[in-house]
Symmetry: C2
């Protein structure tokens, strides 16, 4: 029996920072401690009744491959959805993907070859690191800071990262993991830089409706870079259908869509039944998202109402999505988060956060930070923040 090493990319792919502490959470539960899970972006809302109704009404006898580009009804539903946002995508611009995740993979492969570089703002959605390893693309991070609400730095800070290997800029707006919603002026700067330097822009807009103050601007509004733009989308968060795995890649660049179609043909098809069941939702998205956004607003306020009373905790007001990154008055957030699960409890309860270090590509950043996901009801969130407060007092002793 030989022990052959796995690939370098397999070795370099990071384990999920969100699920890293799961064994510690398991230990807590085994001791009978209740754990509030604020580590993962898995909301607690029910699936829309219309989705479940469609599912139960599935009447086909055969469960055949969908077309690789997506069921025609589903592609059309995405088109209708975009048009209701005044985003001018037509059916031929859209490839249905197995979740937004697959759209990211297709986008990276379509714009970059091994060794090519993509600029990304950190803290970042960590799975970009995985997809970059998988495709041997180099992510070049530009750090954003809590004190600025994680907004984008000035142009020279961005342009100094551009090399002959740079193929594009990745942006996630509203941002996971920071909850930042970028201003029109920021996004316009990105568009202008992309135009000036011949770069693609990969714009991950899966949280489009999840904004608390101003609406989220799609990169598609900057018509002068439309053909350089790849949009990543998903129904997962928008309709609380994380498990349904339906997303899309959309672009006005015909070569990008052609590439995505070839990649889509390689994996044959996305799930037929879950596509069919999701069609009605995209055709009338406001019906679902409006109340959900209101609920997230309440939750954000609940989190903040307690967070601001904890001495030494630094945070900012998230403008969208359902995350917040907070800096804690401690040395090492990962150590603290593990301690929360393995050694601490208050009245039989504790809380699980994602240490934010895993959301940075640059080493040694975010060491004192945690990501809080607003995925429980307000009362539980408040209680979670109270637990954090009590825990910090005890931890510092």
């Amino acid at each position: 029996m030989n022990h052959i090493p796995v690939s370098q990319r397999a070795k370099n792919t990071p384990a999920s920072p969100i699920r890293k502490l799961t064994p510690s959470a398991k230990k807590a539960k085994e001791k009978g401690v209740r754990v509030y899970h604020l580590n993962i972006g898995q909301p607690d809302f029910p699936a829309p009744p219309e989705f479940l109704k469609q599912l139960k009404g599935f009447s086909q006898k055969e469960v055949t491959y969908a077309p690789s580009e997506g069921l025609s009804e589903m592609v059309d539903a995405w088109k209708t959805y975009y048009h209701s946002h005044a985003i001018p995508f037509e059916k031929e611009d859209i490839i249905v993907t197995t979740g937004g995740s697959e759209a990211i993979l297709f986008a990276l492969m379509a714009v970059a070859d091994p060794g090519d570089e993509l600029i990304i703002f950190e803290p970042l959605y960590t799975n970009y690191l995985t997809f970059a390893q998988e495709t041997s693309v180099k992510l070049v991070p530009i750090t954003t800071y809590l004190k600025n609400g994680f907004h984008i730095p000035n142009n020279p800070e961005i342009e100094k990262k551009i090399t002959s290997k740079t193929k594009g800029i990745i942006i996630c707006n509203p941002s996971n993991p920071t909850g930042t919603v970028y201003k029109r002026s920021e996004l316009k700067r990105i568009a202008e830089i992309a135009e000036k330097h011949n770069l693609f822009v990969i714009s991950d807009e899966v949280y489009r409706e999840f904004v608390f103050k101003v609406r989220s601007i799609s990169m598609m509004e900057f018509s002068f870079i439309r053909e350089q733009l790849v949009i990543i989308d998903s129904i997962s968060k928008r309709f609380n259908l994380c498990g349904a795995r339906v997303g899309c890649l959309a672009s006005k660049n015909k070569k990008i869509v052609e590439a995505a179609l070839k990649f889509a043909q390689g994996r044959l098809a996305s799930p037929t039944i879950e596509q069919l069941s999701a069609v009605p939702l995209l055709k009338n998205y406001r019906k679902y998202t409006k109340s959900v956004v209101e609920e997230y607003r309440k939750r954000k306020n609940a989190v903040i109402s307690v967070l601001k009373t904890i001495p030494g905790v630094k945070f900012y007001l998230p403008e969208g999505a359902f995350y917040l990154i907070a800096e804690l008055p401690i040395r090492d957030a990962e150590y603290f988060c593990r301690w929360l699960l393995e050694e601490f409890q208050d009245q039989g309860e504790t809380v699980m956060f994602a240490p934010a270090q895993g959301f940075y590509q640059t080493p040694q950043l975010g060491i004192k930070e945690i990501r809080i996901a607003f995925v429980l009801e307000s009362k539980k969130l408040k209680r979670s923040m109270e637990i954090l407060k009590i825990a910090l007092e005890e931890y510092k002793k």
Copy 2:
């Protein structure tokens, strides 16, 4: 507006040879000609009633992410399935994937880095070419021939392709696109070569039950290379659930499973509902596969009963799966297949095949060959072969 080139890998990824002639088929249909589709591996069987029953019985209110490694019930169902085949996979050896397709992608990324080589036998399942382009891995083809029923050549023919870059050997057994079922002695030679040269073996066994004479041997039977082995599997063909997208990667190599889990975490999860619905099938697979294999046997016989009467057509007896590659007495099968769709008809009917050239990586091979998929009932298959016979007579005039 800049016109930025897409990546080289996007350019190099082949379009699907199976779907290549779809525009020609469309033209035929627009003229009112009925097309028998024997080009694609999409069987016409209904989904198992138990799957549809499970689907309609889905009673969860929330459609949450499944665990990245798969729902525990689903992983357990795969384990039960393997044990009933006397294949000793345990739960910790299995990662549920979104179809067999994703298992292939994970396997390539786990064993090879850009520029690394994998040996594969051609004619091959064409999507391997796509996944190799996506991951920048080089596939090194070893040609097999119709006159030998596409069986594997002798060891020196294989070993001369091994270089310092070779990381593994890919085998698909029973084979798509040839229907060849490899003998124990052939597979043992592959195992011995892998052991001698420190190579992984990626064994795609999605057609495991689909055999007409002898049972299919899993590479797992060669216990001396178990830790070098990655098994690719899928429910798509086995249960006529192509659209459900449930597969798995299984391996006794812990580093491989660890890598696959990290890749799985990157894309979060496989579809929850379709996983849940498929559980009962894997726990009692024989109930479904036995009658289906009998039907394929009849279909194969139907195809051959007419094929053998066509002058100049060369073929062999496929031993499994539901494909056959035939050599036609013409110069260019792709040209002929297009002609069949665009210019020919017999009593308002014609037939669509996949030209086999796309199943070879080596240029200029398979030019006279087509792949026939037994995906229609025997009567339609016989009629399709009659159409082929009449068409060849007319074409040669």
